[in-house]
């Protein structure tokens, strides 16, 4: 087929040793920035593994890491859109606390009175209530930002105070617990994971989807006679992608239930426990599955829909977007509605995981979410950012936190390290961008 016309202008200093690497990157069309981030993540993981004498890269730690990253990762996908349009949302942590309280009170006080205790619809009504509240609050904040012209920084700074106060107000500061048993599955734990068989099925479906998408996009490009990736590059992408997916499934399927829970489960189901103990794998945790689902949906929204295209156009040049006939204010308002919904989902995970709603929940989460998005390559100048990058950023932040806890680093020192990493990461990124330009 037609070879891609190489029109890289001679940079003069191009060393011949790096030309193989460059050809490889050009053929696979991989994002070098994303590769760099995955490289950094690998270094961090190996570093902690080595320093902690092999405690980090264990199925148990990685499984917990994936669950702990889920809430921040979900919110960071929305924060990407917010920051891409040159806005900011400082209210997500407080909003998470407030929505958590609302969902907690809904399922422990309102619904039991209305439907009776332990009604099977309790969890879904509580979750729906949370999502509704998130969307309404997002809409109000978005309306003030987009249509009344108050800067997002101020509106959401106000929101940070308002919703934290409101979270206290719901029950006058009383912690709400315990949550509905079905609702708790959203938060993970041995029951809140889909088990090994389903994990393999999910993994295989994901692999199939990856291969199909590669084939479909190649056929589309061939139909219009566009330059194609070499076949070996397509094969490489498919193989590595599937290996990563199945590798992840293998890891989460290697983490067994704790022996106490296995014993109780065996007793309840009349299963004889063999001598070596019964091996029941966790599989993919439900919050992780939700986060991955959110990631896929949000990537689809940003890359394949009009709305996503407009978000990036507004970030690149708000005036041009307006002149092109885009209703920029409505787009911005929609972004904040979406952010509210994502906060509600994240809040459900946090609340379910803790099995309680407290008015302090989500404190400082806004900063972790913004840091994850920025480390993930979202530019505060607007117009640049990816969903996948932000989610990897969230995992990277959580890896640092988890790793330092494993090493027994004091909390103040942890904060110092995270703060420094954030600044250094953004500094390196700005150097990288200047060289690419």
């Amino acid at each position: 087929m037609a070879e891609a016309t190489s029109e890289v202008q001679g940079q003069g200093a191009s060393a011949s040793s790096s030309s193989a690497a460059r050809r490889f990157l050009k053929a696979t069309e991989l994002d070098t920035r994303m590769l760099g981030m995955l490289g950094a993540l690998t270094v961090i993981w190996l570093g902690f593994h080595f320093l902690s004498d092999g405690l980090f890269l264990t199925p148990r730690n990685l499984w917990n890491l994936s669950v702990q990253s889920a809430s921040i990762a979900i919110m960071s996908t929305g924060m990407v859109l917010v920051i891409v349009t040159r806005n900011i949302d400082l209210s997500v942590g407080s909003l998470l606390g407030f929505i958590g309280m609302v969902m907690g009170v809904t399922q422990t006080e309102f619904l039991p009175d209305l439907l009776g205790f332990g009604h099977p619809a309790t969890w879904v009504l509580a979750l729906g209530m949370g999502i509704l509240v998130g969307a309404v609050i997002g809409a109000v904040q978005g309306y003030i930002i987009a249509f009344l012209g108050v800067p997002a920084f101020i509106v959401t700074l106000g929101g940070l105070l308002v919703w934290r106060g409101a979270a206290w107000w719901v029950t006058s500061g009383r912690t709400v617990a315990p949550m509905d048993t079905t609702f708790r599955l959203i938060g993970g734990g041995p029951q809140g994971a889909i088990g090994s068989t389903w994990s393999w099925i999910v993994g295989l479906i994901a692999c199939a989807a990856l291969v199909v998408s590669l084939v479909v996009s190649r056929n589309q490009r061939r139909k219009f006679h566009f330059p194609l990736r070499p076949l070996w590059a397509e094969g490489f992408l498919g193989t590595v992608g599937c290996a990563l997916i199945l590798g992840f499934v293998w890891v989460v399927n290697s983490y067994p239930w704790p022996s106490g829970i296995v014993r109780r489960y065996a007793e309840e189901n009349n299963i004889a426990v063999p001598d070596g103990g019964l091996f029941i794998a966790h599989g993919i945790a439900i919050p992780v599955l939700i986060a991955l689902g959110v990631g896929v949906v949000m990537s689809f929204i940003t890359l394949r829909t009009r709305f996503g295209r407009y978000v990036f156009a507004i970030g690149g040049n708000p005036e041009a977007a307006e002149l092109a006939g885009i209703n920029t204010r409505w787009v911005v308002m929609k972004i904040f509605i979406l952010m509210g919904v994502l906060v509600a989902i994240a809040s459900a995970i946090s609340t379910a995981r803790l099995n309680a709603a407290t008015n302090a929940m989500g404190t400082l989460d806004e900063l972790l979410v913004i840091a994850a998005a920025v480390i993930g390559g979202t530019s505060l100048g607007g117009g640049v950012g990816t969903i996948a990058g932000a989610m990897i950023g969230a995992v990277l932040m959580q890896s640092l936190a988890t790793g330092m806890i494993l090493l027994g680093v004091d909390t103040p020192l942890q904060n110092i390290v995270v703060g420094l990493v954030l600044v250094v990461a953004v500094w390196l990124d700005s150097i990288y961008r200047k060289r690419v330009q």
Partner: protein, 263 residues
């Protein structure tokens, strides 16, 4: 030609920004297949007047009539519905997305499933860019990485792709070299032949005489006068721009020097 209904009439348009009258009681018209040049100093109100037609600004007074019927233009979407396309002086490109995304911004091609049809958009972009700038190959890169001329051709492609009836070109050759400028001139003549009405804003008086049928001179937000380029000389137009002096070959507007009109 004189009796035919004009394609566009802007009648007694006024707009003020915080007490400053950027455009005051200005009237211009444009016929099918005609090129009307708007000339004047920086800050004379040319771009402002034209942004009212393209929907970027809301006028304070006056009306816009398109093919004999009063048009409601309050935002860029309205203007595009009337077939008014604009090439802005600033190009108005979203720098962070590629040429195809800019070309179809606000009017994306969709697949039957309601998702963006990027491949079809790239294909159309390749076609239209092939006409304007055959050597252009950088379809996958954000337009911020393109040269001035390439960016300009993206902006022009966007204006002509959607079958405009009325084309507004605000300094279309500002970023171009001599060869590309000649290409734009050819394009203007081609579009004129297709019956498109063109408002051309330019500082280059030679360009104006080369391309335009009529010239409208503005000064301090007012129209000094309107003239057919056959009836006036370049020096006379310069006199209109600098002094506001209306020569005998021109129809004086509200901004014409009163003593000159009396003389």
């Amino acid at each position: 030609m004189e009796k035919k209904t004009p394609l566009v009439e802007m009648k007694n348009i006024s707009i003020a920004f915080g007490g400053i009258h950027a455009v005051e009681d200005a009237s211009v018209d444009l016929h099918e297949g005609e090129v009307v040049a708007l000339v004047g100093h920086n800050g004379a109100g040319k771009s402002t007047l034209i942004k009212i037609l393209s929907g970027a600004y809301k006028r304070d007074a006056g009306k816009i009539v398109i093919e004999g019927e009063e048009a409601q233009i309050t935002n860029p979407r309205d203007a595009k519905r009337y077939g008014i396309e604009t090439i802005y002086q600033t190009l108005a490109l979203a720098d962070n997305v590629d040429a195809a995304a800019n070309l179809f911004l606000g009017r994306e091609l969709m697949t039957p499933w309601g998702t963006l049809d990027d491949v079809a958009m790239e294909s159309e972009t390749r076609k239209v860019m092939g006409r304007l700038n055959p050597r252009f190959q950088r379809f996958k890169e954000p337009v911020s990485r393109l040269s001035g001329g390439q960016r300009q051709s993206v902006a022009i492609a966007r204006a002509i792709y959607f079958d405009a009836r009325i084309l507004i070109m605000d300094e279309p050759t500002a970023a171009l070299g001599p060869q590309e400028t000649a290409q734009v001139s050819d394009l203007v003549r081609q579009l004129k032949k297709d019956g498109i009405g063109i408002f051309l804003i330019s500082h280059d008086i030679h360009d104006v005489f080369d391309l335009a049928d009529r010239v409208v001179v503005m000064k301090n937000g007012q129209v000094v006068g309107t003239a057919s380029t056959k009836d006036v000389t370049e020096d006379e137009v310069l006199g209109m721009i600098i002094l506001g002096k209306c020569p005998p070959g021109a129809v004086p507007g509200p901004g014409a020097l009163q003593s000159a009109a009396a003389a």
